[in-house]
Amino acid sequence: MSGPAQLLPGTLDLLILKAVSLGPLHGYGVLLRIGQISERALQIEQGALYPALFRLVRQGLLKASWGVSENNRRAKFYELTATGRKRLREETDGWNRLAAAMGSALAAQPEEI
C-alpha cells in the first residue's frame, strides 16, 4: 500500500492534542503541524478537523481564543488545558502499549510459537 496512511478511528483526537501540545495553533496550523510531525504520512480531510476541535473544546481538553496569525489574519487559536495535557499523556502511553503489542504480535515468526 502506498500513499498516505488511513487514520484509525479515534486517533484524530490524539493527533490534534499532540499537535497543539507543541504550541498554540489555529485550525489550519493544526493540519500543517500534523502533516509536518507525521512526515506527510497522515492526511486529514480539512473540514473533518473542526467537529473534532469543537468536541475537544467541549470536553475541556482544549481552550480557544481569537488571535492574529503570522500573516495577519484573524484566526482562532487552540491550546491545551491541564486536563488536556493529562489526557495526552495517558493516551500516548496507551497508544505506545498498543503499538508495541501489535508490533510484536505481527512480527511473530512460526518458529517462535
Binding site: 485550525g27 467537529p51 489574519r73 484566526a75 482562532k76
Partner: protein
C-alpha cells in the same frame, strides 16, 4: 464536571446561538483564507487559490452540521428546523395529513372520554377532606351496607377504629316551598355526618350531633349548593326560611359547599335532613327496630395508624356481640371495609365494565397507531429516493430519523389536541346529563388535569409508536442501491411488520364488532323477554300518601278512593295497585321460613323473597298470569287469616312444585304464618340479568303501605290518559304529589346499564370498523400501486381478471382472513365479561356469529373494492410506455 460543561455550553448555545454560529462561520472562513494564502504563495492567482481551498475543504455544510452536533446544545435549533421542514412536507400532502390527524383525533378522543368516565367514577376520590382513609362498612356475606339504626349506634359507640362513624340513607320526599309541591331527593343523615366528613358550610350552618334530641327533634334542612342555585337562585335570605317537607315544617339552616355532592359518586341529593326525623320524612319510625334497615351506609375516617383489616376485626367482634345478644335479628355478622363512593364492592361490575371499555378504547388507539404506522411506512418507502438523496448528500441517519419522528409527533399532537377538544365537550355534556330524569343519577365527568395529562401522554406515545415503524426501513436503506434501482426494487415478498400490524388491527376490529353485536343482540332479547308483566299499554301513577300528610289509618280508605276514581276514567280497562313495581330500583326483601321452623333467626331462612304488596286487581292490570289457585281478594283484610300469592320459583323452591304450593304454609321473620292461595308465573324483579328469583305478593289490605304505584291498563293515548289521571287525582286531593309515566318509560332505569353498554360498544365497534377499512384500503391500494407495472404485464400477456386480482390482492385477503378469525375468537372470549351487564349476552348465538362473519366480509369487500377496480382497469400500454 463534564455534565456541567455540557449544560453550560448548552445554555450558552441557547442564548448566544447566532453569535456561536457567526463565530464558526468566521473560523471556517479564516481557515480557507489561510489555505488560499499558502496556495497563492506557491504561485496560483488569488481567485484560483480560493477556489482550490474551498474544494479541498470538503462539504462545508456537512462539517458545520457535525460541528454543531459536537458543540452540543443545538437540540432546539435542530428541532425547530425539523418542525419547519415537517410542516412543509405535511402541507404538501394534505390528504395524508388530514386522514392521519382525524384518525388520531377520533382514537385519542375516545380514550379521553372513556378515561374521563373512569376517572370520575373510579379513580377520583370523593371530594371531601382526607378521602384516603374514609371507609364504609359492608356486610361481608351479603355485599350490602345496610344497617338498622340500633345496630348503627352499637357500631358507632363500640368500635375503637373510627374517628367517628356517620350514617345516611337516600329517600324521596315531597317538598313544598310555598308554591308547587315537587319531589326531591334527600340524604337523611346522622347528626355527626358533616362533622365526621369535615365539611364546612358554604352558608349558614350544618347540623350536629348536639341537634339530636330524639325522634323528630331536628327539623333542619341543609341544601346542596346545586339545589340552592337551581331552586333558590342563590338567595342568601334563604336561611331561616321554613319549607314543608311531606307537609311537616322544616327550617333551612345552611348550604353545603359547591364541591360536596354527598358521599355516593353517581347519586347526588338535593338536600340533607337529620335521620332522627325519619318518621316525618319516610312516614315510619324504625329508629328502634333492629330488624329494619334505616341506614343505607355507615362510613367514617379510620383513626391514625389503624389499617382496614384491623378495623374489620374490631367490627367483627361487635358483630359477634350483636349476633349473641340479638339472635332473632342477626345471623352471622361479619364486616369488610369498602370505599364509600361506589357503594362498596357493588361497584365491582361497573368498575369491570369501565375497565373493559378502557381496554377496548386502548385497542382502538392501537389499531389507529397500526394504521398510521403502515401509512407512514408506505410514505417512507415512497420517499426512499428523497431519503437516499439526503443520505448521499451527507445528512446523518440520526437527523433523518429525528425528522421523521418530528413529523409523526406533529401529527399526533395535532390529533391529540383535536381529540381532547372533542372529548372535553362530550364530558362536559355528560356531567350535566341526567339519564333518568327522576333519579338523581349523574356522572360528574367534567374533565380535570388527569384527563389532559392522559390525552397528552397518549398522543406522545402513539406518535412514537407509529413514528418508529419506518425507522428500520430507513436504517436499512442503502442510498446507492435505491438511487440506482428506484424504489420498486425493494418490494419484498416475506412477512413484514406492516403485514403484522394489519392482522393485529383487523383482529382488534373483529373483537369490537363481535362484542358490540353480542351486546346489541342481548339488549334486543331483553326487550322481548318475559318480564312477568306486560309493560305495553300500561300507565303508572306513583304516589306516597305520607308525603301528603296522611296518617297510616287513613291510607287504605284513600287508596280505595283512588282506585275507584281512576277505574271510572273512560277508556281505562283495569287498574291495580302495587307497593313498588318490579324492575324498579330493587325491592323489599323478606326472609322466608318453613312452617315447622320455630327458631326464626336469619340463618335458618330457606329463601329470601322479593316482596310486593298488591291490591286484588293488580295481577289483571299488570298482565301477570295466574298459574294455579286464586288471586288475593278484597276479603283478605286485617280480620281474615294471612294469605299470599307466590311465584313459580317460590313454589318450586319451598314446596317442590306448583300444585303442592297451593294451600301450603310458610312463616315470615316476625313469626306470621301465611297460607299460599295462588301461584303466578316467574318474572324479573330486581335486575334484568337475574336468575329466577323467589317472589311473594301479599294482599295490601293485610300489609298496608302508604307508598304505592297504580297500574292503569288502557289503550288510550298516553298523553290524554295522563291528563285525565292528573285531573282525577287533583280532584281527590290538591296537595298530593304524584308522578305519571308509562311503564316502558319506567323500565328505562332497568334497561339503562344494558343500553349504555350497547351504545358504548356500538360506538367503539363502529370506530374499529372504520379504522380497519382505512387500514385495509391503505394496504391494498399501496400494494396495487406498487405493482401496477407487473399487473400491466400480466394483463398484456392475457391473464384472467381473477388471476390479476389474486396477484394484486391475494395477500391482503389472506391477512384479512387471518385477522378476522383471530378477532372472532378473541371477541367470543371477551364477551364473557359482558354477560354480567347485558341480559343473556352470549356469543354462542348463530346470529351473532353469522353477523360478525358477515360484517368482516363486508368490511373486506368495502376496503378492497376501489384497489381491485384499479388493478383490473390497468391499461398495459400506457403503463409500459410510462417509464
Amino acid at each position: 464536571m463534564k455534565l456541567l460543561a455540557y449544560f453550560r455550553s448548552f445554555a450558552a448555545r441557547f442564548f448566544h446561538r447566532s453569535q456561536t454560529e457567526a463565530d464558526m462561520e468566521e473560523e471556517l472562513h479564516s481557515h480557507i483564507q489561510l489555505r488560499a494564502d499558502d496556495l497563492e504563495r506557491s504561485g496560483q492567482n488569488r481567485a484560483e487559490a480560493e477556489r482550490r481551498a474551498r474544494l479541498e475543504f470538503g462539504g462545508r455544510e456537512r462539517f458545520k452540521e457535525e460541528a454543531r452536533e459536537a458543540i452540543g446544545g443545538n437540540f432546539i435549533e435542530t428541532f425547530l428546523r425539523d418542525v419547519r421542514f415537517s410542516l412543509r412536507l405535511l402541507r404538501k400532502s394534505p390528504g395524508f395529513t388530514t386522514i392521519a390527524i382525524l384518525t388520531l383525533a377520533v382514537a385519542i378522543g375516545a380514550n379521553a372520554v372513556v378515561f374521563g368516565v373512569v376517572n370520575a367514577l373510579v379513580l377520583r376520590p370523593l371530594d371531601v377532606p382526607h378521602p384516603e382513609n374514609l371507609y364504609g362498612i359492608e356486610h361481608a356475606n351479603e355485599h350490602n351496607m345496610y344497617e338498622s339504626y340500633p345496630d348503627y349506634l352499637d357500631l358507632r359507640d363500640r368500635n375503637h377504629s373510627f374517628d367517628d362513624l356517620a350514617g345516611y340513607t337516600m329517600f324521596q320526599v315531597g317538598l313544598d316551598t310555598g308554591d308547587n309541591p315537587s319531589r326531591a331527593w334527600v340524604y337523611e343523615t346522622t347528626g355527626n355526618y358533616f362533622d365526621d366528613l369535615r365539611i364546612q358550610p358554604y352558608l349558614g350552618r350544618v347540623f350536629h350531633s348536639s341537634d339530636e334530641h330524639g325522634p323528630n327533634s331536628a327539623p333542619y334542612v341543609v341544601l346542596t349548593y346545586a339545589y340552592w342555585q337551581a331552586h333558590f337562585h342563590q338567595d342568601h335570605g334563604v336561611l331561616g326560611r321554613t319549607v314543608r317537607l311531606n307537609k311537616h315544617p322544616f327550617t333551612i339552616v345552611g348550604v353545603a359547599p359547591p364541591e360536596f355532592r354527598g358521599t355516593l359518586v353517581f347519586g347526588m341529593p338535593d338536600f340533607f335532613v337529620p335521620l332522627v326525623n325519619q318518621e316525618q320524612v319516610e312516614g315510619r319510625n324504625a329508629l328502634n327496630a333492629r330488624s329494619t334497615s334505616s341506614v343505607f351506609m355507615a362510613l367514617g375516617h379510620l383513626k391514625q395508624g389503624v389499617t382496614p383489616e384491623q378495623a374489620a376485626a374490631d367490627l367483627n367482634s361487635i358483630g359477634a356481640y350483636l349476633e349473641k345478644t340479638y339472635p332473632t335479628d342477626h345471623g352471622a355478622t361479619t364486616f369488610v371495609l369498602a370505599r364509600p363512593g361506589l357503594y362498596g364492592n357493588r361497584g365491582g361490575a361497573l368498575t369491570a365494565f369501565v375497565t373493559g371499555l378502557m381496554l377496548l378504547a386502548g385497542l382502538i388507539l392501537l389499531a389507529a397507531c397500526a394504521n398510521l404506522g403502515s401509512l407512514f411506512a408506505a410514505r417512507a418507502a415512497d420517499r426512499s429516493r428523497e431519503v437516499a438523496l439526503r443520505l448521499a448528500l451527507g445528512a446523518s441517519r440520526n437527523r433523518i430519523l429525528r425528522q421523521l419522528l418530528t413529523e409523526a409527533m406533529l401529527i399526533s399532537l395535532a390529533g391529540g389536541a383535536l381529540g381532547l377538544w372533542g372529548s372535553i365537550a362530550l364530558l362536559r355534556a355528560m356531567s350535566v346529563w341526567h339519564p333518568i330524569s327522576r333519579f338523581p343519577i349523574n356522572v360528574p365527568a367534567s374533565p380535570d388535569a388527569n384527563v389532559y395529562i392522559v390525552a397528552l401522554a397518549l398522543a406522545l406515545v402513539s406518535g412514537l409508536l407509529f413514528g418508529i415503524v419506518p425507522v428500520r426501513q430507513v436504517l436499512r436503506a442503502d442510498p446507492y442501491q435505491i438511487v440506482k434501482a428506484g424504489p420498486s426494487a425493494t418490494v419484498g415478498r416475506r412477512v413484514t411488520l406492516r403485514d403484522m400490524l394489519l392482522v393485529v388491527q383487523v383482529a382488534i376490529c373483529g373483537v369490537l364488532i363481535t362484542s358490540s353485536l353480542v351486546a346489541v343482540r342481548g339488549l334486543a332479547r331483553s326487550f322481548d323477554s318475559n318480564f312477568g308483566f306486560e309493560p305495553r299499554n300500561a300507565m303508572l301513577v306513583e304516589t306516597e300518601l305520607a308525603m301528603a300528610g296522611y296518617h297510616p289509618d287513613q291510607v287504605p280508605a284513600m287508596q280505595k278512593r283512588m282506585l275507584d276514581s281512576v277505574g271510572a276514567i273512560p277508556g281505562v280497562d283495569s287498574v291495580g295497585m302495587i307497593s313498588q313495581t318490579p324492575l324498579y330500583g330493587g325491592g323489599f326483601a323478606a326472609a322466608i321460613f318453613t312452617d315447622r321452623t320455630t327458631d326464626l333467626r336469619p340463618s335458618n331462612a330457606v329463601a329470601t323473597a322479593v316482596r310486593f304488596n298488591i291490591s286484588p286487581e293488580y295481577l289483571h292490570a299488570a298482565g301477570t298470569v295466574l298459574l294455579a289457585g286464586r288471586n288475593v281478594s278484597s276479603q283478605d283484610d286485617k280480620s281474615a287469616p294471612r294469605v299470599a300469592v307466590v311465584n313459580r320459583e317460590f313454589a318450586r323452591k319451598i314446596f317442590g312444585s306448583t300444585s303442592n304450593a297451593v294451600g301450603g304454609r310458610f312463616k315470615l321473620r316476625d313469626g306470621t304464618q301465611i297460607q299460599v292461595v295462588g301461584v303466578v308465573e316467574d318474572g324479573k324483579y330486581v335486575y334484568l340479568t337475574e336468575d329466577p328469583e323467589v317472589a311473594l305478593f301479599l294482599p295490601i289490605l293485610q300489609a298496608p303501605t302508604s307508598q304505592i304505584c297504580l297500574v292503569v291498563r288502557s289503550s288510550r293515548d298516553p298523553r290524554q290518559l295522563a291528563e285525565a289521571l292528573r285531573t282525577t287525582l287533583r280532584g281527590l286531593d290538591t296537595g298530593l304529589p304524584f308522578l305519571i309515566e308509562t311503564w316502558n318509560q319506567q323500565l328505562d332505569l332497568a334497561l339503562f346499564p344494558a343500553r349504555t353498554a350497547t351504545v358504548a360498544l356500538g360506538v367503539l365497534g363502529g370506530m374499529g370498523a372504520i379504522l380497519a377499512i382505512t387500514g385495509i384500503f391503505g394496504m391494498a391500494a399501496y400494494s396495487v400501486s406498487k405493482r401496477l407495472k407487473e399487473l400491466g404485464i400480466r394483463i398484456a400477456i392475457g391473464a384472467h381478471p381473477s388471476e390479476v386480482l389474486q396477484a394484486a390482492l391475494g395477500r391482503a385477503f389472506k391477512l384479512l382472513a387471518l385477522g378476522s378469525v383471530a378477532g372472532l375468537v378473541l371477541g367470543i372470549l371477551a364477551t364473557r365479561v359482558l354477560a354480567s351487564i347485558v341480559y343473556q349476552a352470549t356469543p354462542r348465538d348463530p346470529l351473532v356469529l353469522a353477523g360478525a362473519v358477515a360484517a368482516m366480509v363486508l368490511l373486506g369487500l368495502l376496503a378492497t373494492w376501489i384497489p381491485a377496480r384499479r388493478a383490473l382497469s390497468v391499461d398495459p400500454l400506457t403503463l409500459l410506455r410510462e417509464d
